[in-house]
Every structure is written in C-alpha cells, then in structure tokens.
Symmetry: C2
Subunit: 245 residues, 2 copies
C-alpha cells in the first residue's frame, strides 16, 4: 500500500465547501488528467463544460433536485459524452457518420466515466473534495438547453469540486468476496454477504445520524431498482442522437 492507494481508499463525497474558487489553471490540469486516461479506439468522446455563471449554477442546483453545493462548490463542471467531434472529423474525411449506435453511446459514456474519475483522483490528490451530480439526469433536456448542447452530445453528470469544510467518514462498500469472482459468475454465499453488508450499512447510518437514519443497502436498492428510474432517459437520449440502434 502506497500513498496513491491510500488516497483511492479514502474517497468520500464532499458537499460542503469553502467560499473559494478553484483557479482556472488548476481546473485545466485536472481535466487534462482526465484526458490522459485510456479511451476506447482513441475516440476521446468527452467534453467538459465549466459552468461559471451564477444564475446557471443556481438553475442547475435546482434542476438536480435542490443540491445547493452545485451552486456553492469552488467549481462546477458538466461532463458530457461527445460524438459530435468524431462525427465532424469523420465528415471532414469524406465519411458518412452513422448516428444512434448503442455501441458508440456506450463507449462515449464510459470514456466520460473513466476520464472524470482521473479528474477526481487528481483533485483529491491536491486536497480538493468532489461530488458527482447524477441528479442532472433528472432534467437532462433543460440542462442541455442551458449548456446549448447540440446533437451527438449529452450531459452524463456534473462534478462539484472545491476546498472541503467537512470531513465525513468513508462509506462502507460491499464485501470484496461479493464483487470479485473467480472464473465464473458465482451467486453462492451472496445472501450471507449481503446480510452482513446490510448490517454494516445500518450501523454506519445509525452512527452518522445519531440514530435518525437506519436503512440498509437492500432497502436502498428496493427504492432504486424497484421503480422506473428516470423513464425519460431513453427518449431524451434518442432526441440527442444516442442509443437508438
């Protein structure tokens, strides 16, 4: 175990920040760290919009479901999957872009995840705290309008960055034996591991909230996948040119 691994293992989301802007040159370095990550077939299907206008940040905070730190963090960026640059490059060579491929949707979305995580690690290595904002997908059409995103670009998530004024505990994860399997997918033992983890999560919430919250992971999952999650997404993505075939 070295300092980088210690850093990776100590991640927690930060939602309270100093009133101090992340300088443009720092942000530029962080985004370049994202670019340095692996990218599928060199597509580099990522654009990053740095949102600086206070009224737009306020609107985004509200669109994300009232997440005020979107407004108050030292920087707020939106990570977008971007096939438009590749489309234009293809057409500049006399090619004909094929829109809507599921595979291209997948590679650009995963490129975004991989690049953003490099940005996150770089930020945390500088003592910044971060919080991913998936809540932008509550209202992706509105977000896209605010950022003037054209066809073949969509907002995957936001990212708050800033100087932390809180120091929350690391949230416990599933036991490694539930996640890392040998040679084939294996469900034996999963129920016991889940029960064990449910108890860990319950205890984590109890301690953290002074007994007010006491749900477990399975209860969280019932709420998350026991209903239609963001049922507008398929249509929204199709409207932006993604994932129709």
């Amino acid at each position: 175990v070295n300092p980088t691994i210690e850093l990776l293992l100590s991640h927690r989301s930060i939602r309270k920040f100093e009133d101090r802007v992340v300088p443009d040159e720092v942000l530029s370095t962080l985004v370049q760290c994202g670019q340095a990550a692996a990218t599928s077939s060199n597509v580099q299907g990522v654009s990053v919009i740095h949102v600086t206008k206070p009224d737009v940040r306020q609107a985004m905070a509200s669109l994300a479901g009232g997440q005020t730190y979107v407004e108050t963090a030292g920087a707020f960026v939106v990570y977008c999957a971007d096939l438009r640059r590749s489309m234009n490059a293809c057409e500049s060579q006399g090619g004909e872009f094929v829109p809507g491929m599921m595979e291209d949707f997948l590679i650009s979305s995963i490129d975004v995840g991989i690049a953003a995580q490099n940005t996150v690690i770089a930020a945390e290595s500088l003592g910044l705290g971060i919080c991913y904002i998936g809540g932008l997908r509550n209202n992706p059409s509105e977000v896209s309008k605010l950022l003037k995103l054209p066809q073949q670009v969509y907002p995957v998530f936001g990212l708050c960055l800033g100087y932390p004024t809180q120091d929350p505990e690391v949230k416990p994860r599933l036991p490694i034996d539930a996640v890392l399997m040998k040679d084939e997918y294996n469900e034996s033992g999963q129920v016991e591991l889940r029960d064990q983890y449910d108890e860990t999560v319950r205890e984590y919430y109890r301690t953290r909230t002074g007994g007010k919250k006491s749900s477990c992971w399975s209860e969280e999952m019932k709420i998350l996948v026991g209903k239609e999650s963001r049922p507008h997404m398929k249509r929204f993505l199709a409207d932006q040119g993604f994932a129709t075939k």
Copy 2:
C-alpha cells in the same frame, strides 16, 4: 503537480508483459480500490471476474480479435455491469425489480468505468501496466457464456494487468481547448484545433513506426463512426436484460 498527477499524465497502454502472475492479494487490493470510488445512488453495479483458466483466457484472446496479451498478461479480469445483486436485494425486501431501464444500464456501465479506472490507477502506482480490452464486445454473447453471466449482468470490458516489458510513449490527446469549454458548448475554433491535433497524431505514428503508419485522428474517426459499430450490441444488451426502455 504532485506524484499522483504525474502518474495520471504518464498513462499508456501496455501490451507486453513479464511471464509473472499478479498475486491474488494484489489483485484483491486493486479491485477494492475500484470499489472505493463513487457509485451512483450506492448501487455498486460492478462485478469483476478474475479469469485464471488458460483455455478460457485463450478463448477470450481470440474472441477479442486475436489480442494475445489477454492470454499472456499477469492477470486478466472482466469488468461486468451488474444489476442482479441489486435486483436480488430489492426482491429480498418485497420489492418488484423493474428490468430494462436505460438509466439503470447507464449508471451500472458508468459505475464500471469509474471503478475500473481506480483499479488502473492503483495498478499503475504499483508499477504494473494495463490494457483495457473493449474487444470483448466483439462477441459479448460468447464471453457471457464462458463466464456464465446470468441476466442483469453483462461484460463491459476486460482488463489486462501485469509487469511491463515495454515502455511506449504517451499518446498525444486532443488540445485541452477543444475539450474544456466555458459556460456553453462552443464549436468555434474546433476545426483549427482538430487540424493541429491531426498533425500531432500523424507525427506520433510516423515516429513510432519508422514512417510505416501515418494516419491522423480524423481518419481514425472516419473508420470508427463512419460505419455501424458493433451492431449486435443493442440486441445483446436486451437479451441480458438491459436498456430496452
């Protein structure tokens, strides 16, 4: 700039490895670093299959389009998007799992990208080299059969890890000004930036191959998005229970 940022900026894929196995306890630490990354709504939609059987690794190398390093790397794992664990947890609480949501497909796939990138950074911090294997999606049904993946689980990509016996150059990326935008999506200047990058890539290939290869990024993109990319993916994902609504 600190050692972590230097590490991030020095990434390149490694395809030649020592004949030396990555120990199980090291791999376990690397996957735990992946688990420590942020996860959407705590879904932790990731399972990792460590492929150890030589015949299966040989089959995977072939399914990925003859990528021999899948067979020869010090370890080979397959990162899978996994909603099955969440489905089971939901049902254990009396909930009814809603399959096929595009949003759930997206969050589990992005969880995989984010987690895998943490694993990659941890590995590189230990002096290991890595190579993502998106080529598994050439034949995702066959890969799923070999790994006995059930419904609600699909293989996103493979990851080769090992002790490098090569030291390739870092591949140049798009100029930061093409990728990082202020307040709104902005295409002005993109053509010039792309032309500049095309020349950089051309020079990179020329130098690296002694003049044998001299394509540019736009030419690569013409090949990549100027045809139907892996047109079987939509059907494959639907068969595994993903992204139908």
